[in-house]
């Protein structure tokens, strides 16, 4: 089961157990909101074409394309938070990223995509 579907099945608290007035008293709760579930199209990288220019890294509005400090190459796409906006594919100067229908993948992650 992917982390997204786990998130969907998480038992939610009732009205007596949450802080009043919609206040958020925990920190880093945005991490729990796996916005990847909003995605309708998925970016797929062709590593043979990629020149490691990093354009996609800088443009990604969700910081979902990571660079590893030890291995400064373009990392995989964090599909937990990639909303599928397609900016990376749009700015890629060598057309190494293509956007594909999410439905063809089911719940599977691609081999270039980083598991979190």
């Amino acid at each position: 089961m992917s982390s997204i579907s786990k998130h969907r099945k998480e038992k939610k608290k009732g009205w007596k157990d949450i802080p009043i007035g919609g206040a958020i008293t925990e920190q880093k709760t945005s991490l729990k909101n796996k916005t990847g579930s909003w995605r309708a199209i998925r970016p797929v990288l062709n590593p043979k074409k990629c020149t490691q220019c990093m354009m996609c890294v800088y443009y990604c509005p969700e910081n979902s394309i990571h660079i590893d400090n030890d291995n400064p190459e373009r990392g995989g796409i964090d599909l937990d938070y990639c909303k599928g906006c397609g900016l990376c594919a749009n700015v890629c100067p060598v057309n190494a990223i293509t956007m594909e229908e999410e439905s063809v993948f089911g719940n599977k992650k691609g081999k270039n995509d980083k598991e979190k």
Binding site: I18, G22, A23, I24, T25
Partner: protein
């Protein structure tokens, strides 16, 4: 002061309570509220002038300038900003107040809902004035009635003395740990806000002891317990947050009498949710809010002298609304007239609608009267005429009008 009911409230203080009072002096309703605000000494007041609310904040800003309060006063550019500033201050943990009227309340409506949704105990005196259009500066209740579903507790005040005491009461009601809701205190524009009556003011230290210090449940300024206010809530949690608001209103209904009793022990006056005036054996009763209740009391006294069994039910706490209590009080009265100073266009007027829901299977005849829109006067003779009609029970169903030219 010849009115029997007003003796203890304005001119004379009951001797056993005199030690809690500072003075009795002539004040308008607006000035009486500004005196309450001075004694409350809120941390933040943000406000924008609007007739007939202006004298409240005008006089309060004088207190700020004279150093009589420690309040941070924010003169903003609109009511929307006034309520926004007060919401921010209250979320930070401050005791925050503002005041407004009519279209000012309408302009802040978006943030009025945010205040109750974020459960911020803001206290706001509202001086009732008609909503536009046509533009009109005089009294009716269309402004506060438009906010009756906004999640604010609503207290209605008959005279300057009540407006003063309600403002103090409102702080405790709003900040109660189980309630945490904003409160608006209504008084009639010009009729109450600008008319001068004797008002007995409590001692500053008595008020400060009664209201105590605000203990916020969450505060933006507590860096060890960081908190986010007003964040997005999607369909998965929004409903639960709204259910909490409904619960808070139920808690307000539960705790109101105890808090009111505590204030009664200081002032010697009572603050029942519904004030009964010679209602016990009444054959005809009128139900009213705010200043009209005072005029009706005078007519009731006169008609009682003539042996006519008439009475009044004055609604003080309109939100939350205690249906079971009002039903108990009215059950045995054959003819009831509900006075509304606003329409709910195309439907039953607001107060009438509540009374009807409270008396679903009652034998009482409940009639609706709309009166006084845009400051149209309500004369004693008209009240007497309405009582006479009620005693005879010959009134048409649907909405009747008092003082309207056909």
């Amino acid at each position: 002061m010849t009115k029997k009911n007003s003796k203890s409230k304005t001119e004379f203080v009951k001797p056993s309570f005199a030690k809690h009072y500072e003075t009795t002096k002539p004040l308008s309703g607006a000035y009486a509220v500004s005196e309450a605000m001075r004694q409350i000494d809120p941390d933040v007041v943000a406000a924008y002038p609007i007739t007939p609310q202006t004298p409240i904040v005008e006089r309060f800003s004088q207190f700020v300038a004279d150093g009589k309060v420690k309040t941070e006063f924010v003169p903003v550019e609109s009511e929307h900003s006034a309520m926004s500033a007060v919401v921010g201050a209250s979320a930070a943990g401050a005791r925050a107040m503002t005041a407004t009227s009519s279209v000012g309340l309408a302009l802040m409506f978006e943030v009025v809902n945010a205040a109750s949704g974020m459960r911020l105990p803001i206290v706001m005196p509202v001086v009732n004035r008609a909503l536009s259009s046509p533009i009109n500066i005089h009294c009716d209740h269309s402004d506060t009635m438009a906010c009756r579903d906004a999640g604010w507790i609503q207290l209605y005040s008959e005279n300057p003395q009540e407006a003063y005491e309600h403002t103090i009461l409102a702080i405790r009601l709003a900040e109660h740990k189980d309630i945490q809701l904003p409160v608006m205190i209504a008084q009639d524009g010009f009729i109450t806000s600008h008319a001068v009556e004797n008002v007995s003011l409590l001692k500053d230290k008595v008020v400060r002891k009664f209201i105590g210090k605000r203990k916020p449940i969450h505060s933006l300024l507590l860096s060890k317990k960081p908190v986010t206010f007003g964040a997005l809530e999607l369909p998965d949690y929004f409903f639960e947050t709204k259910r909490q608001q409904q619960y808070a209103m139920e808690m307000a209904l539960k705790h109101y009498d105890n808090i009111a009793k505590e204030l009664s022990e200081l002032t010697g006056n009572n603050y029942p949710m519904f004030e009964q005036y010679r209602l016990g054996d009444a054959e005809a009763a009128l139900i009213a809010l705010n200043s009209s209740a005072g005029t009706i009391k005078k007519v009731v006294d006169e008609m009682r002298k003539e042996g006519k069994k008439v009475g009044l039910l004055k609604i003080r706490l309109f939100r939350p609304f205690n249906y079971s209590q009002v039903s108990t009080l009215l059950r045995k009265i054959p003819n009831i007239g509900v006075l509304d100073r606003s329409y709910s266009f195309g439907a039953n007027p607001p107060v009438y609608s509540e009374i009807l829901s409270a008396l679903p299977s009652s034998k009482s005849n409940v009639f609706s009267f709309v009166y006084g829109l845009g400051g149209r006067e309500l004369y004693e003779s008209q009240i007497r005429e309405t009582f006479e009609k009620l005693l005879k029970g010959k009134i048409k169903k649907g909405i009747n009008h008092i003082g309207l030219r056909e």
